[in-house]
Amino acid sequence: MAPILKVDRVTMHFAGLAAVREVSFELEPGRIYGLIGPNGAGKTTLLSIIAGSLRPTSGSILFEGRALGKGRAFEAVHAGIARTHQIPRPFRALSVMANVEVGASFGRKAKSKTQEGNDASRILQWVGLSHLAQTSAANLSVGDQKRLELARTLAARPNLLLCDEICSGLTASETAAVLRLLREIQQAGTTILYVEHDLKVIMSLCDHVIVMNHGSKLVEGPPQAVQNDPAVIEAYIGKNGDQVSEA
């Protein structure tokens, strides 16, 4: 099966600092991938590049066979890629419903206008925010903001969903709920690339894991293999003894 996403030797320099170095990997459609690494590994930068909001210094991104990466996020969205933000960025002047409508109205082309409207209500129900549909997005709790972030992004009908640490700051039950949602999204046919630095979440969710460190790809493989890889363990424990996550 042709890969839905092909990242080929992508490099990103910011004023002389290499945030991403020659990273390459492929994603098969319909699976859940984890992208992990200690803080500062370049995960969010790579995500931004795939999502189209950053133009890589070199390298290429092929999505469904087409080249992307011109630094215009909305084009990537129309092609079928959408991302959530690590820190939620709701449109505070709009209601929850209107926020989702932005995704529904401007995302990947829907079959019809009525489908756009249905999508928004349906998605709100799915993530459990229907009761807050008319509430201003400025008045939401952190957990609800994260759910809104996910709902909004889903409304754009992506074939490839990029999630950036969507569970950080959530309680255990909220996290479980989000993970359940993600699995349902995958079952509906969407490919997911999930950035996390909490290993526990990744291990329970992902079919395949890519590990980054200092901007480069360290290893990739099934969760069990990656978890026991000595290089990965060292990257997380590090020389300073910070970041110890339980396997």
Binding site: S53, A73, V77, A93, V102, S105, F106, R152, A156
Partner: protein, 335 residues
């Protein structure tokens, strides 16, 4: 003003809970229009008609500016360009025998083209930078128009129209245009474009991450706003019968056009209307009574608005209604 969120897409009108209040608010615009249409029957006199005429022209420019500046958050300091270009285009057209039905839209069309010339390079800049660039655009056009002799240069341009001067004809033109602009504003606010503009205003990058093309949305809103402002300039030009660059392209016109929505409530539908009414009615008085101080007053007003009520008069009204509701609820619970 991205800091204080103006009422969102679904919240316009939801400030009043009581159905009586809602009915009042909804019908007020229609009643006002009907009153204005019938007003001449009362023979209020040419001075009043002139004042209303000016106010209606201001309403048009104010509501138009708000499309891009209020909904979209792209503050332009250079709308005098469109006002002036509309004025000159209409004037030229009228002098060549073209009827005003065509001359006004023509003025709007030329202004719209100019807005693309201004917007294409400058919308790459974020909000406040766009603002400064528009100052430059305005000055550049003013300077050019002052030097171009085809339209009389600095000495101005006169419109020679055949037929008598019918003040009411101008009054109704301005009223019709103002009604069109407010209708356009309501339509935009409910449309996809309106949604895109608010999203862009709140967070342009996040909007882009959801598929909104910020560049295109801004250009569209800017173009519409420019066209309507240009038409306003045309309507004014026909009335005044004489225009000159220091008048229609003046920086003070740009300032007025942006001040009105801010006073009334930037980003709302009726805020710019209220602001234009306030400005239109007091500006002349102000300049007459305190000729040396009006910049000081407007500047201080801006500063006060920023600190105390960035949402302008609509914000004050909102606060007042909320306070009334709270009081009603409290007194209700005591019975």
């Amino acid at each position: 003003m991205a800091q204080a969120a103006p009422p969102g897409m679904n919240e316009v009108g939801s400030a009043h809970e009581s159905s009586r209040g809602k009915l009042f608010a909804r019908s007020l615009p229609f009643v006002s229009v009907v009153l204005l249409v019938l007003l001449p029957l009362l023979h209020p006199g040419p001075e009043i008609i002139r004042l209303l005429f000016i106010t209606l022209v201001w309403i048009t420019a104010s509501v138009a500016w708000n499309l891009i500046g209020g909904f979209g958050g792209q503050v332009s300091f250079g709308f005098a360009v469109f006002y002036g270009l509309g004025a000159y285009t209409t004037a030229l057209a009228l002098n060549h025998g073209i009827s005003s039905w065509i001359a006004f839209p023509l003025g709007g069309f030329v202004a719209s083209l100019a807005s693309l010339l201004v917007g294409l390079p400058t919308f790459r800049l974020r909000g406040p930078y766009f603002a400064i660039a528009t100052i430059g655009a305005s000055e550049a056009v003013r300077v050019i128009m002052t030097n171009v002799s085809l339209t009389g240069g600095a000495s101005g341009y006169r419109i020679m129209e055949t037929g008598a001067f019918h003040q009411l004809e101008h009054f109704y033109s301005a009223l019709a245009l103002a009604a069109v602009v407010v209708a356009a504003s309501i339509l935009v606010e409910r449309s996809k474009l309106g949604l895109a503009l608010v999203a862009i205003r709140e967070d342009e990058d996040a909007a882009s991450d959801l598929g909104v093309n910020p560049y295109r949305a801004k250009l569209m809103a800017h173009s519409l706003a420019a066209a309507l402002t240009g038409a306003a300039g045309g309507v004014y030009a026909r009335y005044a019968a004489f225009i000159h660059p220091q008048g229609v392209f003046a920086f003070s016109i740009s300032v007025a056009i942006l001040l009105m929505p801010i006073i009334g409530g930037v980003g709302t539908i009726w805020g710019p209307v209220i602001g234009a009414v306030v400005y239109g009615l007091i500006h002349e008085e102000l300049v007459a009574s305190f000729p040396q101080l009006h910049l000081l007053l407007y500047g201080s007003l801006l500063i006060l608005i920023v600190f105390f009520e960035p949402r302008g008069i609509m914000g004050l009204l909102g606060r007042w209604f909320n306070a009334m509701q709270r009081r009603r609820r409290l007194s209700g619970s005591h019975s």
